[in-house]
């Protein structure tokens, strides 16, 4: 039981980060039908810029409280990622909006390589230790389950951000314009929606989420690296497809489900298959679930609610 609960916590923490990143994939897909493969690398840029800011602050203002430092570094990382998201859309994807679907897809993969390589040149090949400003020392264990303050912050923080995003998309004027553009951007334009602006804003919001996810991810594991965005990006993409790509609630659900499947998969796969499979099949397990969902529900878990997509 103790192990079960611990795996539940592990899964929730990883799943929350996946969900946050998956939202960026799904928003862009919902509105443009484009899978922005460079989105995972925005996670990395967010973490790296935050790291750079923290190092600067530590030198410039030693003795600053960790919370202030974290807030300030987020205040730098988020706008930088937003600008980067905007730049990508403006310089690359907008020009390809009416091109065959393969062209923007390949461009997105190229963008991903570009961001990684630039980051490698700027920050070097080595791993960087990421200051863990929120404590990672476990709290008093409850029922044998160890939880750290950073894990609590990640789960609560992502939940709040996701709730805010839902409100933004369903209740505000901007959200309505986003939904209209997703429905049909030509018609939306005829109705007086500045679709170029809306699409740019979608990228910008997704990039902001990626920046937050990057800082969370790096703070949890205490490391940052120019290639760190690749795996969570891939997993988040899987989560978005699992939940039904283009659907906001689906991305969140998909992220959490994927996190839990991975964690329980690694923990129990050996017992479930009577020792036939072991934890080296951890990732396969997640993809088997993905395959099954797509076979029986080709649109993903929540895919049918197309009117909800942003």
């Amino acid at each position: 039981m103790e192990i079960f609960l611990q795996q539940l916590v592990n899964g929730l923490v990883v799943g929350s980060v996946y969900a946050l990143v998956a939202l960026g994939y799904t928003m862009v897909y919902g509105i443009l039908g484009l899978i922005n493969f460079a989105h995972g690398d925005l996670v990395m840029v967010g973490a790296m810029v935050a790291l750079q800011t923290m190092l600067f602050l530590m030198g410039a203002a030693p003795g600053m409280s960790p919370l202030t430092m974290l807030t300030l570094s987020l205040a730098v990382a988020i706008p930088v990622c937003m600008m980067l998201g905007y730049t990508m859309e403006r310089l690359a994807y907008r020009r390809l909006r009416n091109a065959p679907r393969l062209a923007p897809l390949i461009t997105a993969i190229g963008m991903s390589f570009l961001l990684q390589t630039i980051a490698m040149i700027l920050w070097g090949r080595n791993y960087h230790t990421f200051p863990q400003l929120v404590s990672t020392a476990p709290l008093q264990p409850v029922a044998g389950v160890f939880v750290t303050p950073i894990q609590v912050t990640i789960v609560v923080g992502s939940a709040l951000i996701m709730a805010a995003l839902i409100v933004l998309v369903t209740k505000t004027r901007l959200g309505r314009a986003m939904r209209a553009t997703a429905e049909n951007h030509r018609v939306a334009a005829l109705m007086g929606v500045d679709t170029n602006l809306i699409i740019a804003l979608t990228f910008v919001i997704g990039a902001a989420l990626a920046a937050v996810a990057g800082v969370m991810y790096a703070s949890n594991y205490g490391i940052a690296h120019y290639g760190m965005g690749f795996m969570p990006g891939l997993k988040a993409f899987t989560a978005a497809v699992l939940g039904g790509i283009g659907n906001l609630g689906g991305a969140m659900l998909g992220g959490i489900v994927l996190g839990l499947v991975e964690s329980f998969g690694a923990g129990y796969i050996e017992h479930m298959t009577f020792g036939l499979l072991n934890s080296s099949y951890q990732d396969i397990f997640a993809f088997i679930i993905l395959g099954l969902v797509l076979i029986f529900r080709p649109t993903g878990l929540l895919g049918e609610r197309v009117s909800d997509r942003a």
């Binding site: 103790e2 192990i3 611990q6 795996q7 592990n10 899964g11 923490v13 990883v14 490698m120 090949r125 080595n126 791993y127 230790t129 863990q132 990672t136 020392a137 476990p138 264990p141 160890f146 750290t148 594991y221 205490g222 490391i223 690296h225 290639g227 760190m228 690749f230 795996m231 991975e262 964690s263 329980f264 998969g265 690694a266 923990g267 072991n278 934890s279 080296s280 951890q282 990732d283």
Partner: protein, 371 residues
């Protein structure tokens, strides 16, 4: 316009004249220069580069001609498929010898290509025993293999640490798996019990799921076969999950990077093994470290002394045979016997380094200190 063409032509002529008396001999260096362990890859390449620059500075004459060595550095991304592609590229570029690759998983498939082309290779860091047991005449390594290292680790975990129950994790690479298997054998042989065998990948950062499972069986010690990029975060997560078992890892985790990545989670119950001697105990170690730092403005990670000696072994064999042709200098390479940075460099009949020592280290005051 016309004048500039002439100028270029004259310049070109001048350059070719300057090189007329020099023969260029190309050597290859392959290691992952991008990806999760690119810091180790660059370290290997730097080691080989330093050896080549030393040889060029000293001036080497082969067959009456002055020779200038040139290093072709390739990136295999620690990926077996890319490894064979770049191996073929080096063969096509007519390299006369190769220092590399870094990982066992890339070195073993690449060795087949070098063998077909008759190009000798010396790996500074691939420790999987299979490498030198394929019957290829031109395959060497300057590092002790995992049979020696795993044997030492098993004895150490059960004997010196007194661990009765051991959990073993590997990253499913040829290196990590090979070392973990050898360690498992040695743990059992020494009377210890392996209570869990778990797996991760060489790209993972989250180990909470497998560590939680291991926590359930309460081992005395945990052994990880893999690289520092995983070992560091793994140690942090052990602490976050409240696991107090001793942590032991192999040479892949025996770097300054590992200590940096583990942050405040590392303490005196972390150990690692390293084939060969501590850099301070290597005959040429301290001097090498200073020269390396001066040349590349960064610290030695792990294997650059081995890469330096690997490149030196090839160059010395060419001098001894008075030929840069692989078929001619290979016998001399087999008979290598010189004092390198790491100590005496000599190979046994399989191509493994003779008397490959293994040293155990314990974490102490911010560094790995030899035990």
């Amino acid at each position: 316009m016309k004048r500039s063409v002439v100028a270029v032509a004259v310049l070109g002529l001048g350059l070719s004249l300057a090189h007329a008396q020099e023969t260029v001999v190309r050597l290859g260096s392959v290691a992952p220069l991008t990806g999760t362990i690119s810091h180790l890859g660059k370290d290997n390449e730097n080691g080989a580069r330093l050896a080549i620059e030393d040889a060029n500075a000293k001036g080497v004459t082969i067959d009456g001609k002055k020779v200038r060595f040139e290093l072709l550095g390739e990136d295999d991304q620690a990926d077996p498929r890319t490894g064979t592609t770049v191996a073929q590229r080096l063969v096509d570029a007519d390299v006369k010898g190769v220092v590399g690759h870094l990982n066992s998983g890339t070195t073993i498939p690449a060795s087949r290509i070098y063998n077909q082309a008759g190009v000798p290779m010396v790996s500074p860091s691939a420790t999987n025993p299979t490498l030198t047991r394929q019957g290829y005449p031109g395959v060497f390594r300057t590092i002790a293999n995992d049979v020696q290292q795993g044997g030492m680790l098993g004895k150490f975990i059960v004997g010196s640490l007194g661990a009765k129950t051991v959990a073993i994790i590997d990253d499913r690479t040829a290196y990590g798996q090979g070392l973990a298997d050898e360690t498992e054998k040695a743990v059992k042989a020494a009377g210890g019990k392996v209570v869990a065998r778990e797996f991760t990948t060489d790209k993972a950062t989250d180990f909470n799921a497998i560590l939680t499972k291991i926590r359930g069986v309460k081992p005395d010690a945990i052994f990880f076969g893999g690289m520092d990029a995983q070992a560091g975060p793994m140690l942090r997560q052990l602490k976050q999950l409240g696991i107090e078992a001793k942590f032991v890892t192999g040479d892949g985790g025996c770097s300054p990077e590992m200590i940096k990545l583990a942050g405040d989670a590392i303490n005196a119950s972390a150990y690692c093994s390293m084939p060969g001697l501590a850099i301070d105990k290597m005959p040429g170690g301290p001097e090498f470290r200073n020269r390396y730092k001066a040349r590349f403005n960064t610290d030695v990670q792990i294997y650059s002394p081995y890469a330096y000696d690997a490149a030196t072994a090839i160059i010395r064999a060419m001098q001894a045979a008075d030929s840069a042709e692989p078929s001619k200098y290979l016998p001399a390479l087999k008979k290598s016997n010189f004092q390198g940075v790491i100590g005496t460099v000599a190979f046994d009949d399989k191509g493994d380094i003779k008397e490959g020592a293994v040293t155990m280290y314990q974490y102490k005051n911010g560094a790995w200190s030899p035990m």
